[in-house]
């Protein structure tokens, strides 16, 4: 049994909140470059170049890529041979978020659903904990902006809708979202499981690096087909018209009930932010 002080988790979460919000991943920057080459709209090319320049400023000056520094979504992979000491895991994560959003000059965007009163420190965070083999703790911080989250949906399709029904729904969701979620987007798709698990899978799929292959060849093909359809819509960068509506479609799937075909679409803006650490 390995002992880990939760203070270490607080420190890591704090650092990851700041890094994720200021340092856009290399995979996203490379996706911008590829899109610039392919984009037919001159205005679209200008936007993509602006996004690259914005990422450079954010990294160099350590300022937020986007003012919506999001809901802090934290994925914990807790090794079953770890014994956490020194306090409450959830509180340690919240404290890391508090410190990261304070010291990183990040916006506090969490409020009471009715009164809209801001909680003031960007907590609570959303924490997804999974128990895994081993004696390590994996931490991923993925700040999620409101604009693209608002365009996301969960739907319970009927089994007869099948693959074509799934494709149609995802493409239609992107079409109806138009310019709202800050295209070019990444489209996270969760298929199967239950109502809540489909949404979780869609969210988790966004953590996969862009341009990496889906390990399931059937899903890899489906991702390609959906992305091709999406990029025929013409929405383009920022919805001003163009070829680059989405940079990628990512799918995670698991078995579902014989009566159901749950489908979740979690739309992610181009500021696809996530950073990982292992203790």
């Amino acid at each position: 049994m390995r002992e880990i002080d939760v203070k270490l988790i607080t420190e890591k979460v704090k650092d990851l909140c700041m890094e994720a919000n200021t340092d856009l991943g290399g995979d996203v920057l490379e996706a911008f470059d590829r899109a610039i080459e392919k984009e037919e709209s001159p205005l679209g090319v200008e936007i993509l170049k602006e996004l690259k320049e914005n990422a450079r400023i954010a990294r160099d000056e350590r300022v937020a890529i986007c003012q919506d520094t999001g809901f802090a979504v934290v994925f914990i992979e807790l090794g079953q041979d770890v014994h956490l000491i020194g306090g409450d895991l959830k509180e340690a994560i919240f404290e890391g978020v508090r410190q990261g959003y304070r010291d990183g000059y990040l916006r506090k965007s969490i409020c009471h659903p009715f009164t809209r009163a801001n909680t003031g420190d960007n907590t609570p965070a959303i924490v997804h904990t999974e128990i895994v083999p081993g004696d390590r703790v994996g931490i991923t911080v993925a700040p999620k902006g409101g604009g693209s989250e608002n365009m996301s949906r969960v739907v319970m399709l009927t089994p007869s809708d099948g693959i074509s029904g799934i494709k149609r729904y995802v493409v239609q969701r992107v079409k109806e979202s138009g310019s709202n979620p800050c295209p070019p987007t990444i489209v996270g798709v969760g298929i199967g499981g239950t109502f809540e698990l489909a949404a979780f899978l869609a969210k988790k799929s966004l953590l996969r690096p862009l341009e990496s292959k889906n390990p399931d060849p059937e899903l890899d093909q489906l991702e390609f087909e959906i992305l091709t359809e999406i990029n025929k819509l013409g929405i383009g960068p920022q919805g001003l018209g163009g070829r680059t509506t989405s940079l990628a479609v990512h799918i995670l799937m698991m078995p579902c009930h014989i009566a159901s075909l749950p489908l979740a679409v979690n739309i992610q803006c181009h500021a696809q932010r996530h950073k990982e650490a292992v203790i």
């Binding site: 001159p42 205005l43 602006e50 954010a58 000056e61 890529i65 003012q67 018209g241």
Partner: protein, 185 residues
Amino acid sequence: MTQPIRLTTPLSNEDVEKLKIGNRVLINGVIFTGRDAAHKRLSDLLKEGKELPFDIRGQIIYYVGPTPARPGQVFGSAGPTTSYRMDAYAPALIQKGLKGMIGKGMRSDAVKEAMKKHQAVYFAATGGAGALLAKRVKKAEVVAYEDLGPEAIRRLEVEDLPVIVINDVRGNDLYIEGEKTYRKG
């Protein structure tokens, strides 16, 4: 591409009438920030027949909730937020003389009608380019609703803030036209 048009606030009817969808515009002068909670309060004031906390005639409202500024920074990251959430409140403000709005995403028919009727335009700034846009803000101060934090109304002095005309006074919409141009099949 054509050169951007430089505009200085406050805007006159002539300023906005010459703008066409797809025009790139560099905004100079004073603009005001406001998003969900501030709009609700402005709307309540109008319903009660009270004065707004700033003279809205000829002005531009930027839908933005910035990050806190770092020491040495004039303004924190400041990209636009999605505009449809302000659609319920915008027509009344346009009627009061608001000439421009900066945000992202499509507006409702009611807002587009109000823009046509009272000569106002809707601009988009690049969503998610918060670090880049912040550098164009030269001065910032809170003018109302400090308790709202990032949602407070701020008076900004901007230099060459880059935006694109989405809706002009003739009822055209770049989101609709742009998508039509590039749609396949």
